[in-house]
Symmetry: C2
Subunit: 435 residues, 2 copies
Amino acid sequence: MPFLQHLLAQLSPKKAFHRQGHGVLLSYLLRWVFISLLVGGVSGSASALFLVLLEFVTQYRETHAWVLYLLPVAGFLIGAAYQYGGKGSEGGNNLLLQTIQKPSLARIPFVMAPLVMLATVLTHLVGGSAGREGTAVQMGGSLADQLTPWLKLRPRDRQVLLICGVSGGFASVFGTPLAGAVFGLEVFLIGQLRYHALLPSFLTACFAHWVTLSWGVGHTVYPEVVPPAFTVLSLGATLLAGICFGVVARGFAGASHAVAAIFKTTIAYRPLRPAIGGVLLLLVLWALGTTNYVGLGIPTIVASFETPLPGYDFALKLFLTALTLGCGFKGGEVTPLFFIGATLGNALFPWLPLPLEMLAALGFVAVFAGAANTPLACTFMAVELFGSGCGMYAGLACVVAYLFSGHKGIYGGQVVGSSKHLLWGRDTGKALEEL
Amino acid sequence: MPFLQHLLAQLSPKKAFHRQGHGVLLSYLLRWVFISLLVGGVSGSASALFLVLLEFVTQYRETHAWVLYLLPVAGFLIGAAYQYGGKGSEGGNNLLLQTIQKPSLARIPFVMAPLVMLATVLTHLVGGSAGREGTAVQMGGSLADQLTPWLKLRPRDRQVLLICGVSGGFASVFGTPLAGAVFGLEVFLIGQLRYHALLPSFLTACFAHWVTLSWGVGHTVYPEVVPPAFTVLSLGATLLAGICFGVVARGFAGASHAVAAIFKTTIAYRPLRPAIGGVLLLLVLWALGTTNYVGLGIPTIVASFETPLPGYDFALKLFLTALTLGCGFKGGEVTPLFFIGATLGNALFPWLPLPLEMLAALGFVAVFAGAANTPLACTFMAVELFGSGCGMYAGLACVVAYLFSGHKGIYGGQVVGSSKHLLWGRDTGKALEEL
């Protein structure tokens, strides 16, 4: 009886392997729950402390405008701290990405975590235009890597651990666990997403987010975006907006690298770069006569969902952020990218048949998607911040921006896993900074 | 002046390449907007017609119970139609996945589209337990592939076209464009996601969804799931539930293949398999004395969000679906997987500290994630169907279910791109049906 034979085959010892499989998977799950709890605990706590400090210095700056005059001094302090106490941690995000790609490299210095936190807080105190994600990601990665010798991890597992650090830092600093989990998986390779760190990355992102919330630290709440009627016009407008976001993302990446290159070639003594950059920033701010573009710029981001703003806002923020980070101040690029994107979306409002808040939301995530080359993480972020109604529009805008930013990006250590277009096929396997 | 040199370098002819790049990208975008409109138009229209027919036959069956007696006759008709008019299209989803992996294979027969639609409608009319996505995906893939010679596509672009067909079919039949877009990218390889079809897939999914809506065809609306308080208990419960969902997903895949193998080895004449299967189904339904488990089962799925149901519902649906599809009736696996997952989640309610609707929602997406090996598409689906509040929990459950279903799944043509666990490292590069 073939039927009975088949039934018996299902129960045979050969199938025991699969029963065994469940035990192996369970121990794998428990192991990574344990490690993710550790990484989530440290990165979530670091993010919580960081967010509290940021809030404090931002309020202080807004009520004590004179601190802007400290820009050159703060710049010098930051430059000197990295020069004499950095132990190689000025590589920042790129050092992290390189180590994820080659997990046999040396340990990420512990000092990266406190140094980048203090430098970023100082940058925000004196009115540099910078963000948070770079700081959170570097804290997460550096703190996670200190567990490597303690947990006796092999290179393969160390790679997963570092991805967890990135995911945890990102998830907890923005309050977006899904975006954080996918960002960690997506950021080190362009054009590919591998699943070997899927479970650890999701676990750490959730735990880190939970830890930050448990410390009583909240996140900016953005309006729920109501999607417009689904027509040829709204779809076409989303694609056009996506092109603009991608081109500006590329422009931001280019400007940041250009400013950094100019400072590097013209000023040999490193601590002097952010000091002179600080003087320039001060002059520009004095000429502009406004502090709209300093710090994180959350009030302007929120305003861009509600009311038309000057069309040049995005360009000024782009320039000031490129100057701040290019000369050596510290902080992330992502919140400025949110600012640039949201105000650019706002500026497109007279030209495109989409609601103002939808354009601001699309710009918010899509400029970031183009500049960081992480379209899926940014689509998740749109859904987590603005509700699921805008998901499809955000997905389209992010994917188009990702394509139109080309092989450019804010992370020079990112490697082209698979080229975005056949035109650039020969870039495959190279890091962005080599191109 | 290095500064001026740098500025001039930015404007040099070498940079013209990048300016040129924008033109290439624009023509690439326009080309795929055009192709995606075509594929979205045909797959979205096919899904609309299919959904209307399904609605009609479901209502007819519910008011005319005697049609269940036609199960054996309908089975024979379907078997005979595939035997004598199938032109190789009985390969179904697997043929599609194999062609995506090897785009030099022969054209997908056009007859696959009408055949699978009629066979599925007939299956649902007489009370088989089946779904929709297989049908929609096969219609999308087959119709898309008819464009290959007309558009003179090379194998690489044909691969992208077929992915578009899958995305469009999936997106339009469930009304979930993001899940559809990512499903098309995720389904043919386990453990990897490549971005070469990112833009076309997103475009087609959106267009197809839009076309189905434009035909006036709607989708089932599920309740917005309110997330529970974020505690150790709720996170731990999500992980435990995810394990259950993964194990049941693996069980479903195993049962389907086992039933198919039994029919294949015991009955040589193919049209007789669904005929005899129909007799068996009729006997089982008569013994059960209920029609709760026939057809799509949408009312039970909706009920599982609201009220506790019998704990054995998921097992009976699993058995009946494996019998229906294993013997040769047509239809997808996904709606039954929604049913199995939602009722399993419902059955876990007395044991796990999560709200009923959250458990049903997690099961809905996570059993599917485990059985189809598409955790990211299912996370997007959760957000699109149940709102962004449940996103993080759904992500965790899907990822755990994906791990615990092992290298098993409902699509035998799926290839292991990168193994889920080192334990199964040697499976890499093999199709699931070879394992």
